[in-house]
Amino acid sequence: MLLQVLLTGVLIGSVYSLVAVGLTLVWGLMDIINFAHGEFLMISMYTTFWLYALLKFDPLASLPIAVGVVALVGVLTYKLVVKRVANAPGLMALLATFGLSLFIRNLAQFLWSPNYRFVSESLLTDKRFIIGDLIIGLPQLVAAVGSFAMTLIIALLIKKTKTGRAIQATAQSKDIAELMGVNTERIYAITFAISGACVGVAGALLANTFPVYPECGAMYGLLAFVIVALGGFGNIWGAFYAGILIGLAETLGGFYLGTQFKYAIAFLIYLLVLQFRPKGLFGW
């Protein structure tokens, strides 16, 4: 039974990680908290749902489309909103993205009502492996593996490509990056696109198993804040391990203490870890 709980934790944690990776990129690069990140996830889930409901697309087939849609939303968010508040003092950028999250969430409610919607049939629905006592749902497994793969791709992208190195340089120092000929405006827009792509993948994978409704991204967004801080701002692998840790904390806490405490345990883990690592697990 414990093994089952641990496995569930790792699987969900992997998805948390991917959502957090998207957030940590923007946070590390621009020092901006994107409060609308959870709503980006919701957009991806709705995209997947509507492609399924209207065009009978399987969520896996919708994935690239969802990625494209959310990446575009990311770029627009940067160009139309974040760019204007990036250099404002204090928490003004937070104010803007919070307003944006309210807007997107309630736009969804206005357009599609607060009702829960489900992708009721897909390639993965109800398929599962049974190994001894362990039950592994195929949708969960695919979500976890897909999320891990995307995290890996992002990490490689940042590390190996020219654009990735430009992102790193800009995160270190915007001015110096500009002196070296980096078009930082473009880098910011690209980073928002990558950030959106991360939740695009996560959303499409989650739509297989989770209900789609206007608030569905909120809890992921909130957990992503904690995960990003736990991993150390801007640290991709930090976000990955922290995501797994939070996934485990949540399922273990839910199993031993009752599901009502599962998020409380996750938050408690953050507070405890930060007592020993005040800048996150992998903070510098």
Binding site: F98, L102, R105, F261, Y270
Partner: protein
Amino acid sequence: MKNRALYLIFAAVLVLPFAITNVNFQHVMIMFLIFASLGESWNIITGFAGQTSFGHAAFFGIGAYTSTVLFYKFGVSPWVGMLLGAGIAAVVSVIVSYPCFRLRGHYFAIATLAVAEIIKQLFVSWDYVEGATGISIPVVEDSFIAMQFHGSKIPYFLIGFALFFLIVMVARSIEKSKMGFYLKAIRESHEAAEALGINPRKYKLLAMMISSALTALLGTLYAQYILYIDPFMVFSLEISMKIVLLSVLGGLGNIYGPIIGAAILIPLSEYTRVFLGGTGKGIDLMIYGALIVLIACFEPHGIIGLLKKRGKKRGALYAKTNA
């Protein structure tokens, strides 16, 4: 000189609900007083001392629950509960802040958010205080002692005004005193503050205690005004964020910011709700969100920033807001 501006604000606020007796308007004024006061309280720890709290709903909720539970279970006057709630909030704030103050910047902000969420979860599963169901405050006849008034909103308004006056004056006297200078020094540079003989932890804790105690007072008023509380309402991230947003919108770090911010944001949110809410379609919050984005994009320095631009020299203005 600047005192006059402040007293003018007090006078205008006090007169308005008597001049405009529309019930909706009176309601908006009460919400304005509650949130302007919350912003002032929050401003002490975040605006002055620079320690961003995303979790002030925790103290608001503690205030609301303390007085409500005492009245509901034991018939204790909410006035007593209000003071007790402030005391408990201060104690809790010290317990949770002491370890958290080791953290800097966003790490601290996220920690406050985590603390508030944990406290919310605890209340949700705490049967003695009716858990997720929440508590309906037993209705009694109009009474000052029981802080319940059913005939008119004016008594609530007056209590709100008294708290608003108290909190603004506390914030102002902090700002003008040694403590205000020390908090701002800590905000600007931890190291420089220490080199000036300031014990940052002591002053941050003190600021946090005062800030959370004042926040709790408003929780009681809110509970008595609405006559119903549940954990999702009073401990919500929405409340924490609303406090942050209105203060940021008005301008951080001076006593006028939260008043200006609340004067814009609260009517905006209340009136969009009154006129556009009710359909359940979320148009009100949609427009509210869009307006916040617009304000942030086109006035990124806050409303105070806008006034400063209009004002004369920066130095002169600074002297004006601080003297």
